[in-house]
Symmetry: C2
Subunit: 244 residues, 2 copies
DNA sequence: CGGTCATTTGACACGGCTCAAGAAACGTGG
DNA sequence: CCACGTTTCTTGAGCCGTGTCAAATGACCG
């Protein structure tokens, strides 16, 4: 519940009532190991899911084995805020490392919405951000070169990892194989590797045991013209300890 | 208002009360000519927008002139159902031909949501569908070849045009230049042209004055393995006069 | 009728893909 | 702790889908 509170509070500066409302939510904790499917296409979950720890990937697989990652889910991210209508999931969610998930009945979430406090608004902010991230993914993969895509995605994930309370400074833990990056960015994993090595050789970043360090963040920013406004972080800018 | 009612009714089989609630909505009609911007990035509209007639494109432009269309808006599509939180638009909307737009105050829309009738549910269904279309756009552009992309997008637009009450049978009016198609599919307009001509020569489709006819729809479906489930049309399948 | 914009086609270049094979990292059981 | 199988990463060679550039043609519009 910490991850959720942290996230919502980041957006909306919650007060006591909001905190109480959130604490009152009844939820179940499920643990998924790396490689397990949290949601499978066609499921009709019935609950909303909140990532409490670990990373997951929303993806769609084509018939012939190709597959595309839609986006990554970090602690505090919510699956299925479209709690008002129920429909079979049109995509799957895969655990990238061990993921703890809070599963909450739709009507529980609705009770928070109904209270019309800041917690409800913060949930909406989450939904708005999630959709904006999808849109940025479209632009990234549609109109950017391989190098730009990699730089842009790393900058996004770095930013989001910081918000989730993971990572420190210019480093963050990224439990994502190069093949997964390829499926996220619409490239081959061979080419992902080449781009990563090139950036590494240029001193822009370094990698070690699943940790990424953005050695020259400004260089990466410039490389892909990264603007973070799509992350809609300005709900409450004072939450962020530094300026980009 | 017809386009909206038609769309919502398609999803939810509205009753008299719902109809009354919708008819009671106060709105303003704005007309935009082809090429005009309905929403400009950075705007904070304050209202929700419903396309009443005509086509529009949501897009994001990069600094250097590249631009990416996120998706197309057809009659009955709604802009900004995230009415509960207000934030600057992170993308723009461009009129592709003459577009009539209903502009509705957020609180008006909220009143329909609050009534908890089927109209509210139908709005949610719209939001769910919109996000699913974005996801499919990611997969299409990320993991499909140029030919598959073109076929897949045409099939989607055909389907959506029929639902909007435009088009007839295998034909529909598509006020979209090849350069726009290119910006939607992450390709160059030269290549779009080649693919279209190829499909045309193969007898899969024909074009005339902005009208597209899917001469061999099944062929196109097979070509890109088109599954229409992402359009979430199953809310009320009987509304559709034919089976795919 | 001229001007502008959209379409079409050819020639050529190149970014990223495929295939292949070796090296490194990782997990597991002994 | 090592040994082993498995997955992931790395690198090279060659190819192909798509981009770029350029120019002609056609469609539309006042």
């Amino acid at each position: 519940m910490d991850a959720l509170f942290r996230r919502l509070n980041y957006y909306a500066d919650l007060n006591e009532d909001d905190r109480t409302a959130l604490d009152g939510l009844k939820y179940r904790v499920e643990v998924y190991e790396s490689g397990e499917e949290i949601i499978t296409r066609g499921d009709d979950p019935g609950d909303a899911f909140i990532v409490s720890s670990g990373w997951a990937a929303r993806y769609i697989a084509l018939e012939d084995g190709r597959s595309q990652i839609l986006n990554f889910m970090l602690p505090g991210d919510v699956y299925d805020l479209q709690v008002f209508v129920s429909s079979g999931a049109d995509h799957s969610v895969l655990a990238l490392n061990q993921v703890k998930v809070l599963e909450i009945k739709r009507r529980e979430i609705l009770s928070v919405f109904d209270k019309k406090g800041r917690a409800g608004a913060a949930f909406w902010w989450c939904a708005l951000q999630e959709e904006a991230i999808l849109r940025e993914q479209i632009v990234r993969n549609g109109r950017r070169s391989a190098r730009e895509r990699v730089a842009h995605l790393l900058l996004e994930l770095h930013r989001r990892a910081l918000i989730s309370g993971e990572g420190a400074g210019d480093s963050f833990h990224m439990p994502v194989s190069q093949a997964m990056l390829a499926d996220a960015l619409g490239l081959s994993f061979v080419h992902i590797n080449r781009v990563l090595r090139e950036l590494e050789k240029a001193g822009a970043l370094s990698r070690k045991k699943g940790w990424i360090t953005l050695e020259r963040r400004e260089h990466l920013v410039e490389l892909c013209d990264f603007r973070d406004d799509y992350l809609h972080l300005d709900a409450n800018p004072r939450r962020l300890g530094f300026n980009f």
